[in-house]
Amino acid sequence: MSSISMLSMEDQIALENQLTAFLQKSESNWSAIVDKGGNLFVQSGDTGDLDLSILCALAAGSFAATHELAKRLGETDFSALYQEGRSMSILMMALEHECLLIVVFSLQTNIGLVRFYAQQLTRLINEGLGAAYQSSLTAEPLQVEGDFDGSERSVFS
C-alpha cells in the first residue's frame, strides 16, 4: 500500500469533517491523521499549547516501535495502541496508506466509547484516504518560481 504525498483542499476538508464529527460523538479532545513518518495530515480539536509536530513525531515513533515489538513476538496483526493516563489518554489506530489515527481524550469519556466510534471512523477515513491517494497519483507535481538550489542561498540563518 503506497503512501500519500499530497492532500487537496477538498480531501482535507472531508477528512477534517469526519474527525470533528467523531470528536463530538466520542467526546474526545483531539484527533489527527498522521503518516508513519510523523507528518501531520489533518487534525481537529484542541490540545492547548502542545507542539503538534512533536506530538505527531512521538506518536508515529511510538506506534512503529510497538508494532516492531509485536512482530518480534510473533504477532502478524497490529492495529491499535492505547495509553491510559490519569487525566488524558491516547488511542492510536492503524489506517491504510501507511497512516495512523491518533485520538487524545480525557476522563470525560471512556476507552470503550472512543474505540467503538474510532473503529467506525477508520472505515470512513480509509475510504477518504483511498480517494486522496488516487487524486495524488494524477495531480501535477508542485512547481513554484525560484531557484532554491542556488549555492549561496540560505534557507536558515
Binding site: 492532500l7 507528518n39 538550489d149
Partner: protein, 217 residues
C-alpha cells in the same frame, strides 16, 4: 516522504542525521536549536538515556517561507548511533526525504564511520531507498581535533563515487558548519519544487553535488 498540504499551504520534509555513535548528531541539533531564530523553530525533543545517549531519536521542527506561498516545515531527526539500536534506526528512516551523514573526523573512528555508512545503505534498502535516489550531504565533524583525518582522506573514503555529493567541514560543539550543512541539504530538497530546476530532484542533486564537491577543499 515529502507531504504537501494544499489547504494549509504547507510542505513537510523529513531530514535524518545519521552516523556512528558519538559522532555529533545530537550536538548538531542542539547547536542548531541554539542558533536558529525562535520564530522558525520548535522545541528540541530528545529521547535519551540518563547518560545523554540517544535511545530512540532527537527531534527538531524548523519552518521557513523560502518557497513562495508555502510554509516549509523541516522535521529534523537523529538516529541512535550505537550498533545495538539498528532496528530503531530503520524505524526513524521511515519516510525520510534527505540525509545528513555525520562523519567523526577522529582517526580512531574511521572503522566505525565506514561501518555506519554501510549500515545506512543497508537500512535504506529496507525502506526501498538507495543513496542514488535520496538527497544527502556529508558533514566532516570535529575538525578541531588535533588528530583529525585530512579532508582528502575523508573525501576519498566517503565521497569517492561517480556522483559526488556536497560535503561540509564542521565543529558542531562550537556551531561551526552546522547551518551550512543544514542549508545544503535543505536546498537539495527544495530544488525539487523549483520550476527552473526541473521536477527530477535526483538529477539536480547530482549536478549540485558535482559542482560543490569540485569546490570543496
Amino acid at each position: 516522504m515529502a507531504f504537501i498540504n494544499y489547504s494549509r499551504r504547507e510542505i513537510q520534509l523529513k531530514i535524518v542525521y545519521y552516523g556512528c555513535a558519538l559522532c555529533g548528531k545530537t550536538t548538531n541539533l542542539i547547536s542548531l536549536h541554539q542558533r536558529i531564530n525562535s520564530n522558525q523553530k520548535g522545541e528540541l525533543v530528545s529521547l535519551a538515556t540518563d547518560a545523554d545517549r540517544t535511545l530512540f531519536f532527537d527531534f527538531l521542527s524548523l519552518s521557513t517561507k523560502t518557497l513562495p506561498g508555502f510554509n516549509t516545515r523541516f522535521q529534523l531527526y537523529t538516529v541512535p548511533g550505537q550498533p545495538v539500536y539498528n532496528t530503531t534506526r530503520q524505524l526513524v528512516l521511515k519516510g525520510v526525504d534527505g540525509i545528513v551523514f555525520v562523519v567523526d573526523s577522529h582517526w580512531d573512528k574511521m572503522a566505525e564511520n565506514v561501518e555506519s555508512f554501510s549500515n545506512l545503505q543497508d537500512n535504506l534498502i529496507q525502506n526501498h531507498l538507495t543513496l542514488a535516489t535520496i538527497p544527502y550531504v556529508l558533514q566532516y565533524n570535529k575538525r578541531d581535533l588535533p588528530n583529525a583525518a585530512p579532508i582528502h582522506y575523508l573525501e576519498y573514503t566517503f565521497n569517492n563515487r561517480a556522483t559526488k555529493v556536497l560535503s561540509y567541514e564542521a565543529v558542531a560543539s562550537k556551531g561551526d558548519g552546522i547551518l551550512e550543512t543544514l542549508n545544503g541539504v535543505a536546498r537539495l530538497l527544495l530544488a525539487k519544487y523549483s520550476k527552473s530546476a526541473g521536477a527530477n530532484s535526483n538529477v539536480d542533486v547530482t549536478a549540485a553535488g558535482k559542482a560543490a564537491a569540485a569546490s570543496t577543499t
